[in-house]
Symmetry: C2
Subunit: 342 residues, 2 copies
């Protein structure tokens, strides 16, 4: 049976263009002017764009795709879909339409493998109550899959990454460690059965809007993906002009996360995320522990900045649906670091 992870060099969000390189490239481009209605674009590294249609209706739009991080085509498709949909949830939106991005080596990959990828994605899209309305497929050297997703949100109910306030509590909805565990899978140290906990987590929708009676308690949100907790935490802190303080002991981890990091299952992104955040991160962690902060997540959790008096209730509400969800730190007034880990 084909092992998808062996068909590519870099898998999942670890294949993302490193943040610093991306910034350098984008700095040399004169982008089109923003037309009226664009309320959030890519400039602040927010999760998705917001385009206001009416006083009561805005589009939330995002796009994501990557190479296989798993051997099972079905699970890979499911994870890729959940990962793409997550950015809409991270803005407080509800997904409505999806379009598929598929690149596949037609000469070597059997049709049933591609079908399984599409089926995994379709089942997650069904869970999200959105529809698959189109897409594009090309013949390519390696498999890549993802979605362009459009959701709807009320323009005044958008969770941006610039709304965190000093005094907020920080909540993370999923355990950390998908980067190192998938690296261990790729090196054949782990089987998919051994890292099932992480696979199930990556397939889980970040659909917290479906469980909230009151979304006003959430002041800011972002989803943790390729830049890791440190990178996305830094982006949130900078956009909100605050500092974020994480308590390392409270960070939810998969059972094998530290063991896998200890075994040296690292990706290029671990190093580039370290470099990306170096000047703005203060911690006193061991060399192994700090890699938790740089671990590139695929379909990672949402990081929520929440009114302190609502945080515990929110965790209780989400706990039945999100194993590991926890208060992981707090927001303080801006100091000389963006991210502290204690």
């Amino acid at each position: 049976m084909i092992r998808l992870t062996q068909t590519v060099q870099k898998g999942g969000c670890a294949a993302k263009v490193p943040a610093l390189m991306l910034r350098e490239i984008l700095a040399g481009v004169k982008f089109p002017p923003l037309i009226p209605g664009v309320a959030v674009d890519g400039a602040l590294f927010d999760d998705a764009a917001i385009f206001n249609l009416t006083d009561e209706l805005a589009l939330v739009q995002t796009l994501d795709f990557f190479t296989p991080i798993l051997d099972s085509p079905y699970d890979f498709g499911a994870v890729a879909a959940a990962n793409s949909l997550s950015d809409v949830y991270a803005m407080g939106g509800r997904p409505k339409t999806c379009m598929a991005i598929l690149a596949a080596p037609l000469a070597t990959l059997e049709p049933h493998v591609i079908q399984a990828v599409l089926q995994g994605a379709s089942d997650i899209i069904t869970q999200s109550q959105s529809s698959l309305v189109g897409g594009h497929s090309i013949d390519d050297d390696t498999l890549k899959f993802g979605l362009s997703v459009t959701g709807l949100v009320h323009p005044r109910k958008v969770w941006k990454n610039d709304g965190a306030r000093a005094g907020d509590k920080l909540i993370l909805t999923k355990p950390l460690g998908t980067g190192t565990l998938c690296a261990g899978l790729k090196r054949e140290t782990y089987s998919e059965d051994v890292i099932r906990e992480a696979i199930d987590s990556m397939k889980r929708l970040n659909n917290i809007v479906d469980f909230l009676a009151d979304s006003d308690a959430i002041h800011a949100a972002t989803d943790i993906t390729g830049f890791g907790l440190a990178g996305h935490g830094m982006q949130l802190a900078q956009a909100s002009k605050v500092s974020v303080y994480f308590a390392f002991k409270q960070l939810p981890l998969f059972e094998l996360t530290l063991a896998s990091l200890h075994a040296g299952h690292l990706t290029k992104a671990h190093r580039s995320n370290d470099e990306y955040t170096k000047a703005k991160l203060r911690h006193s962690l061991s060399d192994i522990e700090k890699m938790v902060l740089f671990d590139p997540q695929t379909s990672g959790g949402l990081l929520l900045s929440v009114a302190a008096d609502k945080a515990q209730d929110l965790v209780l509400t989400l706990a039945p649906h999100f194993p590991g969800v926890a208060v992981v730190g707090e927001v303080r007034a801006k100091d000389s670091f963006d991210v502290h880990v204690e």
Copy 2:
């Protein structure tokens, strides 16, 4: 200087998954149910999806990306953008937001090359009066670029591919031949200067909505891309339950199109488009001439099915903006072939 076309095996829309193979793959997938609001999805091979938001507002959504068909990074980005935007225009919509799909070999491609691709795209997006609001980039073996585009349209002003009526005239907005000319470029028979006419055509927006006083004369529309005039003509005929009749002598061609086909500059898509349409196409063309019908277009023209008494006026209106635009045939009642070429 790097020659982008030499970095990939298949370029442009010729790298699209062949229609028959795609259909076979999709037939094995149980897709998510369509949620309320989805008015057009991928099932009829229409150019873009339609999602109704209100009685007066619908989204038009499409997604497209491909490998380099040109050596100039700027022109490649511009063509890829115009090609993606075209599907929104083909539905009568006006593009509003774009998200970039970028895969690039970071180790071998210099930043200025990627910047030029993005600049070419940005300048076309600016022309289209839409904005670039986000995107995703990955490190990959070969360069790929494209856009996910969302436009707006009035729900009752959508040009679908199922509205062609017997008696309509068919108008094509751009000359045919980009597939064979780009194949000749890739084989280094032609320079970009020699095929400049085709490059300029591929960079041209299909923004006919910007020039029309009255869009009601257009009963159906589709844009001609990877499946060629025969393939997309067949899809329009089948969706509309009519037969389309093209007059070969009236088809606009680039100056070098026939010479290039005669020289044997063909792609895999020429053959797969032949197979795709074989059972439903009647013609008496020579082996060279018939390849015009199968030539995979990148950023090709719109094929419009138009009320007969409005066709000539429409051509006159569009002629200053679309070199080669012409009446190329007519629609008749359904017979035993979908496409006739006389």
